[in-house]
C-alpha cells in the first residue's frame, strides 16, 4: 500500500509540474529544436519545476519544524520539573528555568559547570554510578540523592535520566522530595507516638482489668470472714442465751450490725466494680424509663408525699439498665434528702445542645455546701454522719458518675437559687 502511495505521490508531483509548465510557456512548441533535444529540454523544465515545488515544501516543513522546536523549547523551559542536559563528562549542557531556580543561580552561570558540584559529598558515588548506568543502558535510570540547592540547606531529590543525542548527552529530571520525606518522617513519628499511646492504653486497660478483678475477688473474699462473724454471733446467742446480762447482748448486736453494714458496703463495692461490664447500647425511651423509676420509688414517694415533675424526654441510644440506675439514684436522693416539713418537689428536664442531651434533676431539699460538690462523687463519701437520719451506702453518686462516663458524658452539681441542688448530666449521641 505504502509503496503504491509513494509511486502515486511522484506521479502526482510530475503531473502538477507538467500542468504548471503547460500553463506558463509553450517551449515545447519550439519547432526549431530536434525531437530528442526537445524532449530533454522538456524533461529538464519539468524537473526544475518539481525541484522548486519540493523546495517550497521543504521551506514550509522547516518553518513547521522551527515552530515545533520553539514549542518543545517552551515546554522544556517552563516545565514544572527541573531538567538538566548533561554531557558524558558530567557538565551541564543545558537546563530549564525550574532547574536554575532550584539551584538558586542564573541559568547562564550554570552552563558548563559540573552537575556533581551540587551534590553532597556522601552522594557523589551514587551519582557517578547513576550517570554511568544512564550512558551505558538505553533505559530510564533512577536514583535518590541529596543535593545542595541553596546553601546550607540540603534537599532530597529523585533523579531520572536517559541518554539523548546519540549517547553523547543525557537528560536528567530532578524531583525535590524533601517535603514528602519530611511528611513521611513526621508520619513515622506520629505512628511511633500512636504506638506508644496504644501500648500505654493496653497497659492501662490491663491495670483496669486487674483493678476490676481485685474489686470482685476482694469483695468475695472479704464476705467470707464477715459471714463467719455473723453466723457465730447467731450460734453464740442461741447457745448461751440467759447466761449473760443484757449489756452482753447489746454489744453482740453492735458487732452484728457493724458486720451487716460492712456486708452492705462490700456488696456495693463489688456492684460498683461490675458496673457496665455487660452493658448493651440500645434505643431508650427516657420518658418510659423515668416512669418505671417513679413506680419503683412508689413507697418513698408516698411516704414523703413527694411530687415528681417530668418535662419532655428524648428517645436516644443509651445503656438502658445503667441509665435506669442513674435516674433511680438521683430521684431517690432528691426525695431522701428532703427538708423536714417541706413537700419534696423533684423536677426532671432535658435539653438538646448540639449533638448532646443535657438532663437535670432539681430538688428543693436540704442542699449541699458548694465545697462538697466534687466530694459527693467519691465512692463511700457520705456527708451525714448520722446513719439513722439518711440511710445509704454512700455510693449512689459515684455509680451515677461511672455510668455517665461510660456514656462519655459528664455529671456535675449546681446549687439552686433558693433551696436544694440540681444534678446535671450530659449524654452524647452514641451510635449503635
Amino acid at each position: 500500500m505504502k509503496k503504491q502511495n509513494q509511486i502515486s505521490d511522484t506521479e502526482i508531483l510530475r503531473q502538477k509540474a507538467e500542468n504548471q509548465l503547460r500553463n506558463t510557456h509553450s517551449s515545447t512548441d519550439d519547432s526549431t529544436l530536434e525531437g530528442d533535444v526537445r524532449r530533454l529540454v522538456h524533461e529538464l523544465q519539468v524537473h526544475k519545476i518539481e525541484l522548486e515545488m519540493q523546495n517550497e515544501e521543504l521551506v514550509l516543513s522547516n518553518q513547521l519544524l522551527g515552530l515545533a522546536n520553539e514549542k518543545y523549547k517552551g515546554l522544556f523551559d517552563f516545565a514544572p520539573i527541573a531538567y538538566f542536559v548533561i554531557s558524558k563528562e558530567g557538565t551541564i549542557v543545558d537546563l530549564n528555568l525550574k532547574g536554575a531556580g532550584m539551584l538558586h543561580e542564573d541559568r547562564q552561570m550554570l552552563l558548563n559547570l559540573k552537575f556533581s558540584k551540587f551534590i553532597t559529598t556522601h552522594c557523589q558515588k551514587i551519582f557517578s554510578e547513576f550517570l554511568q548506568k544512564v550512558f551505558n543502558n538505553d533505559i530510564i535510570e533512577t536514583c535518590e540523592i541529596e543535593m545542595i540547592m541553596n546553601r546550607p540547606i540540603h534537599s532530597i531529590v529523585i533523579l531520572n535520566g536517559h541518554v539523548i543525542e546519540k549517547g553523547e548527552q543525557c537528560l536528567i529530571s530532578v524531583l525535590d522530595i524533601t517535603a514528602r520525606k519530611k511528611a513521611e518522617s513526621a508520619l513515622n513519628d506520629k505512628m511511633e507516638e500512636l504506638k506508644k499511646a496504644y501500648k500505654q492504653l493496653e497497659e492501662y486497660s490491663f491495670h483496669n482489668q486487674e483493678l476490676k478483678q481485685f474489686a470482685t475477688i476482694s469483695s468475695h473474699e472479704l464476705q467470707q470472714p464477715l459471714r463467719t462473724i455473723n453466723n457465730f454471733i447467731q450460734i453464740f446467742k442461741e447457745e448461751y442465751s440467759g447466761i449473760f446480762d443484757e449489756n452482753a447482748y447489746k454489744y453482740l448486736d453492735v458487732i452484728r450490725d457493724s458486720a451487716k453494714r460492712m456486708n452492705v458496703l462490700i456488696n456495693a463495692l463489688s456492684d460498683y466494680s461490675r458496673l457496665g461490664r455487660n452493658k448493651t447500647l440500645k434505643l431508650v425511651n427516657f420518658k418510659e424509663l423515668i416512669n418505671n423509676v417513679i413506680s419503683d420509688l412508689d413507697d418513698a414517694i408516698k411516704s414523703t408525699g413527694a411530687e415528681i415533675q417530668v418535662s419532655e424526654m428524648p428517645v436516644i441510644n443509651a445503656y438502658e439498665i445503667e441509665i435506669y440506675q442513674v435516674f433511680l439514684n438521683l430521684i431517690g436522693n432528691a426525695i431522701k434528702f428532703h427538708k423536714k416539713n417541706v413537700q419534696p418537689v423533684v423536677q426532671l428536664n432535658s435539653e438538646k445542645i448540639g449533638d448532646t442531651w443535657k438532663f437535670s434533676v432539681k430538688d428543693n431539699g436540704i442542699g449541699v455546701s458548694a465545697d462538697h460538690f466534687n466530694k459527693l462523687f467519691h465512692i463511700f463519701q457520705r456527708l451525714h454522719s448520722n446513719e439513722n437520719e439518711f440511710e445509704g451506702k454512700g455510693i449512689g453518686l459515684s455509680v451515677c458518675k461511672k455510668i455517665i462516663e461510660l456514656h462519655q458524658g459528664s455529671i456535675w452539681i449546681e446549687a439552686n437559687e433558693h433551696q436544694g441542688i440540681t444534678v446535671f448530666f450530659t449524654l452524647p449521641n452514641l451510635i449503635l
Binding site: 468475695h220 467470707q224 459471714r227 463467719t228 450460734i235 461490675r274
Partner: protein
Amino acid sequence: MNMKPIVIMLVDDNPGDNYFHTREIKKIDQNCTIINACTGIEALSYLELHKETKLLLPELIFLDINMPCMDGWEFLEEFTKLDKEMQDRIIIMLSTSQDPDDFSRAIKYPCLTDFIQKPLTEKVYQSIIKKYF
C-alpha cells in the same frame, strides 16, 4: 419432721461455714448423715470410693465455688463425666457470690439444680427439702 434419713455432702473448705451449715441442717433433720469434703477432689474421690457399695452416697450435695485445688466449677466438669447412675443426685451451688457472671455460668450446667446464697439457714434448708425430696 418425718422422713427417711438423708445423706448430705457439704463441699466447702471453710470449717466455720461447715460447722454452721451442719448445725442449721441438724435443727431440721437430726437423723441425716452429713459428709464434709474440703475440696472438689475430696468430694470426687469420696463418690468414686462409694460407687461400688452404694452405701452412704449423698443424695444432696451443697457445693461452694471458691476452693483450693479444685473449685466448684471444676468439680462440676468432672462430675458430668461420671456414670449416669452416679449423676442422679441433687447438687446445689452454695456460695457467697452475687456475681451475675456466676449465675449465667451456673445455668450452663444441667447437673446443677439450684444456686443459693450463703449462709444456708434452717429456713432455706427446709424449703430445699420440700422442693426436691
